[in-house]
């Protein structure tokens, strides 16, 4: 069990650290960092599903017989670029929130909204 599943456990640990940061921390930028850690966990999970023992990179060349599966790699390759694009959108939103509210802390944002609603 340990020998065959250790990768998954460590990857899950990574994902959960990211999830914890996203849920618990109030800072929007820290949340984005947590999100990207979670994302890396998912990437590693996918890639590790495609790996074969003794396999090699799926670039065909003579004298190599076993290759890892190319499909997860394709999915993750595009996902990384999409991930950084969405990270940019998130950051842009955070910057605009900061310009409007003067803070990126969730609690202070909620307080500001409350104040405006009551007055």
């Amino acid at each position: 069990m340990i020998r065959s599943h250790y990768v998954f456990w460590l990857v899950f640990a990574l994902m959960m650290i990211g999830l914890y940061v996203v849920i618990s921390h109030g800072n929007l930028l820290k949340k984005l960092i947590g999100l990207s850690m979670f994302q890396v966990g998912v990437f590693l999970f996918f890639i590790s599903l495609g790996k074969v023992d003794g396999g090699s990179a799926p670039i065909i060349s003579e004298g190599v017989e076993t290759y890892s599966h190319p499909l997860p790699q394709v999915l993750i390759l595009t996902a990384i670029v999409v991930g950084v694009a969405t990270l940019a959108v998130g950051l842009a939103l955070a910057v605009r929130v900061f310009e409007a509210y003067g803070t990126v802390e969730e609690e202070e944002l909620l307080e500001r909204d409350q104040d405006e609603a009551t007055t």
Binding site: S56, A57, I59, S61, V64
Partner: protein
Amino acid sequence: MMFAVMAALLVTMLLALVRAFVGPGRYNRILAINTFGTKTVLFVAVAGFLFGRPEFLDIGILYALVNFVAVVAVLRLTHDDPVSSQNGEDGT
């Protein structure tokens, strides 16, 4: 032989990692990350030889490059931040 080199690289990575964790201050961290980056370049090169397919060294070239860009970016974009530009106590 390759394995010994790989082990040395991994141990050095761990040492640099500790330096990046404890700091103190920004410059120590950048230095540690820069060192770590060169170790990853070597890692890619040695791993290629260790597992018998050394033809993917393009990745190593990219690492060497990107590592430099990261150091420049960190220096440039944190330069005018008053909070933690001093060394010493920083909150972790």
